[in-house]
């Protein structure tokens, strides 16, 4: 991806951005986040199919954001996360420049976030077949089978909160689990405590999750917790016509339509 390296070098030399966030080669053939402030390091930037980590998790981090204007190499999921973060006033045109990488690995430098939004709206959020098959398999179970399935899947969780840390949408300075008056979610990892934590995480992402799988990829125990947020995504589509991260549209869970349909309220 020489075009990305060249552009990053130019931006830093002209100091129109203070830091360029991209990928570099990591350990054991993996790629990892790279923060370039000195134009000479631009050569380290790489881009290929291994780069799936969602870099948007960094643009709300104090130590990165306080460096000044950021440029970010953004694949489609990262762009969706950026648009959603922009609609939640976390980033704007003065502190973020998006170097888009299209699904065909072509680089587009977007002038501003509205351009990113129009690009993102060309693609529908699709749940891949493997996860869809898992969702259907769970759907066919009876409620207590589903209950046993989730208790068994979530019990190994040792509450390291890597799912929360890797998610670009989880940027709260102090998360609900870090308040102890009241202590909604028990601190120790226990069967019910884990379940309540993952339910709370899924609900706080309702209408905001961009289905980038960062939470699943971050989990040290590969717990399929992204199925919960995918379920919320499908529910939003089924009941409210779905959502796309967008700058102007209202957020799914903080707005309503007088004629929202439901069949269970007596």
């Amino acid at each position: 991806m020489d075009e990305l390296r060249r552009r990053a070098k130019e931006l830093l030399e002209a100091s129109s951005v203070k830091v360029v966030i991209g990928y570099e080669n990591g350990t054991d053939g993996k790629t990892r986040a790279l923060f370039i402030e000195n134009p000479a390091d631009a050569g380290k930037l790489v881009f290929d199919s291994r780069c799936i980590m969602n870099l948007a998790a960094y643009i709300t981090k104090h130590e990165v954001k306080s460096k000044g204007k950021m440029a970010i190499a953004a694949t489609l999921p990262v762009m969706r996360a950026i648009v959603q973060l922009a609609s939640e006033f976390q980033v704007n045109d003065n502190n973020l420049l998006v170097l888009g990488i299209t699904p065909e690995s072509k680089m587009i430098e977007f002038k501003d976030l509205t351009e990113v939004e129009t690009f993102v709206h060309q693609y529908q959020i699709e749940i891949d077949s493997r996860n869809k098959e898992m969702l259907d398999r769970i759907e066919k179970m009876t409620p207590s089978e589903r209950w046993d399935f989730w208790i068994q899947e979530l019990t190994p969780c040792f509450k390291c909160y890597a799912c929360r840390a890797a998610c670009p949408m989880c940027y709260c300075h102090r998360c609900t689990v870090e308040f102890n008056q009241p202590q909604w979610i028990p601190v120790p990892s226990s069967e019910l405590g884990n379940l309540e934590w993952h339910i709370m995480r899924a609900i706080h992402l309702a209408g905001r999750c961009v289905d980038c799988d960062a939470c699943y990829n971050a989990c040290p125990l590969a717990i399929p917790l992204n199925l919960l947020t995918k379920r919320m995504l499908l529910d939003a589509r089924e009941h409210f016509g779905g959502y796309q991260p967008s700058l102007k549209a209202e957020h799914l869970m903080s707005t309503y339509k007088p004629d929202d349909k439901e069949n269970f309220i007596m």
Binding site: I138, W150, L192, M200, A206, D260, E262, I265, M266
Partner: protein
């Protein structure tokens, strides 16, 4: 499970359903005493974590009730709540929480009879379903000492 007395928690909005329940009392309509009513300023304030905590503490059924659409004292509390309950209810169903034990209703301040009817039907339904063993089984399971299970 005829002799089982279910524990029901009712999260109700103060302006309509609570007043409706009041009306049920003043008009001497009898309804099952298994219900424990918790008053909230609005259905919009009823947090989904309260459902979890109620089952944690041993509830067998939950009623959530508030003002009819367009009657909300704060104009949009029940609209927000409705959207939230649609999403929360389907997630609870996906997780395997028994959603037959969570009842949602609109009860205005004038519908004392409807409130009594809702409580009675809920109690009899939950009595049929029996205690919520799935949840209690996990809650009571001794703390996984050495979590190698």
């Amino acid at each position: 499970m005829a002799d089982f007395e279910p524990k029901i928690v009712a999260f109700v909005c103060n302006w309509c359903t609570y007043a409706g329940a009041d009306l049920t009392g003043t008009s001497r309509i009898k309804y099952a005493s298994n219900v424990r009513i918790v008053r909230f300023p609005c259905t919009g304030r009823i947090d989904y974590m309260l459902l979890m905590k109620s089952f944690d503490e041993g509830a067998d059924g939950i009623i959530v009730s508030g003002c009819h659409p367009n009657d909300c004292h704060y104009t949009s509390g029940n609209f927000h709540a409705r959207r939230r309950w649609i999403m929360v209810r389907s997630l609870c169903d996906f997780i395997g929480i028994d959603i037959r034990r969570i009842k949602f209703s609109w009860v205005s301040a004038a519908e004392g009879a409807k409130w009594a009817d809702i409580v009675n039907t809920t109690v009899s339904e939950i009595r049929e379903l029996g205690p919520y063993n799935d949840y209690k089984k996990v809650a009571k399971r001794p703390l996984k000492e050495v979590s190698h299970g």
